[in-house]
């Protein structure tokens, strides 16, 4: 009998806390598959964020550390500079990366730190039950924008890939989406490219994944996936924003 599909070695048997339709479980699996395929499980060190993925160290079957809210790029910097031959990645949500940790991500990219960042953009604070995120769309309703995000009052969403693309230190930046099967396959391909970018010492890599939070979006998982494709991706266009081939 041929095994066509099994749990990656890089995932533990732990059952996740994630809601039905949440993107975290998919992204965890994609990372685990990539780590397995690259044969780097025993030299990978992950950084779990503050947010719904805070327990990521229970789900990944390799070394994972906690980090304070927003600080994974700084922690990753410390790890990678001490252990340059290990594969170091930070897993961050939109509040973590684009609000409280904006300085850390911008400067890690500006320094060209040879780390990878998986940036989960679902446009909302999931764990704290649905407040406005730095990536909440104009007009989108959250528990702190109950009438919808009024850009004249709350300001505008941040497009992270476009922002980081202006920095010479960033080597590979891509935005993908989990609203379609092709998008999921594309996300895995992007994560693999990011890890390869690090393995080849080309510098800072980040994959921004448009991901669903059906619970706080108050949508069914299917509606949430459709919303990623038809609404979110309009404001946050998917695509490659940077892909520098040479080694830094």
């Amino acid at each position: 009998m041929n095994v066509l599909y099994k749990k990656p070695e890089s995932l533990t048997k732990e059952i996740t806390i994630y809601c039905p339709g949440c993107g975290h479980g998919i992204i965890h699996r994609l990372i685990a598959e990539v780590v397995d395929e690259l044969g780097i499980r025993e030299k990978t060190i992950g950084i779990a964020p503050v947010g719904c993925a805070v327990l990521a160290y229970n789900y990944f079957n390799f070394d994972v550390t906690e980090a304070a809210h927003g600080r994974p790029p700084a922690v990753a910097t410390g790890i990678k500079r001490c252990l340059p031959d290990r594969i170091v990645f930070a897993y961050q949500g939109d509040g973590d990366l684009a609000a409280i940790g904006t300085a850390e991500i911008v400067h890690a990219a500006a320094r060209g730190e040879n780390i990878s960042v998986i940036f989960v953009n679902n446009g909302i604070y999931g764990m704290t039950k649905g407040q406005m995120a730095p990536t909440t769309l104009p007009g989108e309703k959250t528990t702190t924008t109950t009438k919808g995000r009024d850009t004249s009052y709350h300001g505008f969403p941040i497009r992270v890939c476009e922002l980081l693309a202006t920095l010479d230190g960033s080597a590979y930046l891509e935005r993908t989406e989990l609203g379609s099967i092709q998008g999921i396959i594309g996300t895995k391909r992007a994560i693999k490219k990011a890890f390869n970018c690090q393995i080849e010492k080309r510098g800072f890599s980040l994959v921004e994944v448009l991901s669903a939070c059906p619970t706080n979006w108050k949508k069914t998982p299917a509606e949430a996936m459709a919303w990623i494709r038809t609404v979110m991706a309009n404001y946050f266009p998917v695509g490659v924003y940077k892909d520098i081939k040479e080694q830094v």
Binding site: R41, E42, K43, T44, I45, A48, V54, L55, Y57, N58, F60, N61, F62, D63, V64, T65, E66, A67, A68, R71, A74, V75, A76, T77, G78, I79, K80, R81, C82, L83, R86, I87, A103, E104, V106, H107, R111
Partner: protein, 346 residues
């Protein structure tokens, strides 16, 4: 033994390198700018890593990352910068990660000024960040001692898996004195908890999050037992002229050094003064101070603040009626004459 002329900032950096420190991240702030500048040259020279961080917060979190790989790691700053680092210090304590943080104390609160102060005693000894934790605090009074105590700080940090603070001030940071250098440590303690990739072992995690009922309580009691062991084993103090003494000065760091001069002047005038100097501000040498203070008719606490260590002296002595205070806050530095005047006044 090699003897060199160094500023306090440089001596602390050299102490770290001698102790096997291979990672420094920092951010410029007066009066410890020389520290970051010095390490930018010296870390690469000693095969270590230097990073000028984008912020104090990033610097302490880089130290967090370096520490969890097993590297001896440090950062330095001055008061407002140390306030920003408190988030990271709390995480280091919670995750039981060793690290050394040097504070060249300047006047506060707020932006304050850039002159020497001891106003961060409370912040250093009472936790500083959030949560139920302690940090070892070492208070040097000379450039040599900055070197020695920074060196010691790394051993204590590793032994107890906890952040250690070196609390000096803007004067000690910038003054130059001869320093005897130790040989650089070659053999560092083995660590069986680091994250280095799970080759040949089960995956590990570093965390301070314990959500299940009762687990954080158990973790906090474990930390408390560790702090108890530190209190029992790691108290350091100095005494000067305390064998036949009527007036006991209790003082630390720069204030203690100036006070020792005042004690000598008092002795020349026939006043039987003595000095008790805690070197560890936490654990505070309360038991010894209690015993020594029994002989004193009066106790004068001298600090470069409005009276912070005063609380610990009151706890140790348990008799407020004999305790007096002389302080110079906001960047004021007392002269020996001023202190002598106080000795005569009380």
């Amino acid at each position: 033994m090699r003897k060199v002329l160094l500023t306090g900032c440089e001596a602390s950096g050299e102490g770290a390198i001698s102790a096997g420190c291979t990672f420094y991240a920092g951010y410029p702030i007066t009066p410890q700018n020389r520290f970051t500048e010095y390490m930018s040259d010296r870390m690469p020279e000693s095969k270590g890593v230097f990073i000028q961080a984008e912020s104090e917060i990033a610097a302490i979190n880089m130290v967090f990352g370096a520490s969890l790989t097993g590297a001896r790691a440090m950062t330095s700053s001055s008061s407002p910068g140390i306030s920003l680092k408190q988030e990271g210090i709390s995480y280091l304590a919670g995750c039981e990660l060793p690290a050394v943080i040097v504070n060249m104390n300047r006047g506060g609160p707020g932006l304050g000024d850039v002159t020497p102060s001891q106003s961060d005693y409370f912040q250093s000894t009472r936790g500083g960040g959030h949560g139920d934790y302690r940090t070892i605090v070492l208070a040097p009074w000379s450039v040599q001692e900055i070197y020695d105590l920074t060196y010691l700080a790394f051993d204590l940090a590793d032994r107890y898996r906890t952040p250690v603070l070196v609390l000096a001030d803007g004067m000690l940071a910038q003054m130059m004195e001869p320093v005897e250098l130790l040989k650089t440590k070659k053999r560092l303690p083995k660590k069986n908890w680091t994250l280095t990739g799970c080759k040949g072992r089960k995956p590990r995690s570093i965390k301070s999050l314990f959500l299940s009922p009762g687990v954080l309580e158990t973790h906090n009691w474990k930390l408390a037992r560790k702090y108890q062991r530190i209190m029992e084993k790691e108290q350091i103090y100095n005494t000067y002229m305390c064998t036949d003494m009527d007036i006991l000065i209790v003082s630390f760091g720069t204030a203690a050094r100036i006070s020792s001069e005042a004690v000598s002047m008092a002795r020349e005038q026939g006043i039987r003064a003595g000095l008790f100097r805690p070197v560890t501000l936490w654990p505070y040498p309360s038991g010894v101070l209690n015993k020594i203070s029994e002989k004193a008719k009066k106790i004068l606490v001298v600090e470069m603040n409005c009276g912070q260590m005063l609380d610990d002296v009151k706890i140790a002595v348990r008799n407020d009626s004999r305790i007096f205070f002389y302080g110079r806050p906001g960047g004021g530095v007392p002269t020996p004459e001023e202190i002598l005047k106080e000795i005569k006044r009380i």
